[in-house]
Amino acid sequence: MSRSATFSDLARRFAGGVGLTAFLAVGPAASARVLLTQEEALASAFPSCTVERTTIYLTPAESARAAELAEDEPPSGVVFVYRATCGGVFGGTAYFDHHRVRTLAETVMVVVTPDGKVGRVEVLAFDEPVEYLPRDAWYDQFEGRPLDDELRLKAAIRPVTGATLTARATTAAVRRVLALHRVLGERKPAP
């Protein structure tokens, strides 16, 4: 059959073409690495700003309060906060959250705006297979969201088919960060 022969020939020719394309597309770049470090993430969130890292030690009451607000486990007693000053003006705060997705870990940076809402969420490390990583646009859903009942999967945050565990873990991380930020904001200034 002429059609059958055409299919077979097309497939074989296509296979060769794909192989050649793959080699040309990725071969020259094989020695490069793509990493997003903490410093790169902060630089992308706060360009031309001075970022000050502060180590904060939570009291047991503060840990309990943060857990209550986040509806999650109590946070670590040591918190690392990155506050940005841009042109003499407070530009926001960044936190890093390291958590398990399925069996492996993800690290995200959550930037909180001066008014206590999510500025951006950035993935720094994702150890699960890449199929479980939502698209960039999914993370954009968090922008401008405060800590409230809407900040949940299947509420204001839409789920992702095939990456539900990542979506749930990331949403929980953002809630943890906003809860922590609120607790730190409730601290009375030192006399």
């Binding site: 059958s4 077979s8 794909v18 040591v78 492996l104 870990a105």
Partner: protein, 458 residues
Amino acid sequence: MKIRPTIGLCGLILTLVLGSLPTSPLWAAEDPATAARLTELERQIAELRAQLAGGSDAAPTPDAAEIARRLDLLAAELERLKLGEVAVEANTSLYGYGPAASKVYRKAQGFSIGGYGEMLYESPNARRDNGSASGRRAEIDFLRAVVYFGYKWNDRIVFNSENEIEHATTGGGTGEASVEFAHVDYLARPEVNVRAGLLLVPMGFVNELHEPTVYLGAKRPDVERVILPATWRENGFGLFGEAGPVSYKVYVLNGFRGEGFTAGGLRGGRQKGGRALAEDWAVVARLDYVPWTGVTLGASGYVGDAGQGTTDSAGAIGAGLTIFEGHAEWRWRGLEVRALVTRAELDDVARLNRKLGLGPTASIGETLSGSYVQLGYDVLAGRGAAQLIPFVRAERYDTQDAVPAGFARNPANDVESLTFGLAWKPFEQFVVKADFQDYDNGAGTGVDQFNVAIGYVF
């Protein structure tokens, strides 16, 4: 940008926190190097505590500024341990990528493991739609027990596999052990990556995402088992990637083995990667478009021969096969809607029928078609981890939409079904599903059934 550390003086709190490090679940599995760093941290803390308490004779007591400096160093070390590789200085050769574009699958090196499983209870009606005895009995089956193994050589080259035992045993011919996929990926850049090995054919919703917590219903949709024969995997290689709202996959695979086709569909023609005949190859391509988060529109196509060297008196039987599929999904709050339509066309069916000795109503379909629509709503959406999802799914398929001249369609292969039920997930990785399926076919021999399933992923 410049990062400046500031210092807190709560040494005892830090000591307590650092003392609890080994109990942290994410750190507990770290390597010996991490354990050594923790030990060193503990030693330094003990030294600091001793100095705070009055000090040893061997070393002079440091002043408050020195203690604060050391605490800051320890805090920085603690953060590095928490963040792992992220805190390490990067090789920033990114071919012009901004950091925001640099989201990559990265684990330094080593194994990964995961898995899923499902158990299914099926209770069919004792009677067919026409009142005759169905002859079927209730059955409970540990349908699948699956383990994923992966290995990462470096940030670029990753292996992943799915290894499955179906029906709990391979003894007595009731079950089988299979590799569902096993491939090596070369992750070059988000837009272009290379994959080779035993690949899942990227058509429809379920073939690639077939874990029981992902789809509604105790059983997978019939259209994605009969017309698109999930779990459908073949050996090959190809490209995949995404750019903005668009993602794609293009694979070259060994084709079906047409001698396995039946009146019931293409399923028997899968070669599953084991000593697959490779006389004929196929190309499959898939494109998905996400215009808004929660909305996916996609399509895929498959073109290839299934003859694999089969001959008759007229020569080689090509058995060219073309399959098209379109799908759409909308997820908004608790709502999830899916729709899929597919159609397959096969050449040389009359010759294949004669070659296989198939009778007048047992012809392989020259055209096969199917579609379904599914609607579910999580009534617990936004209230926590638990989910309770009533759902309904309407399906239609015909494995003999058209047959060659000289053969007749069997109306029993023209099927409509309505499935409605409930899925309950107490947490994301475990599901209990129950549903009822009302089957109708053109011959009036449909058998309704009730199903219950449990499924897990880890």
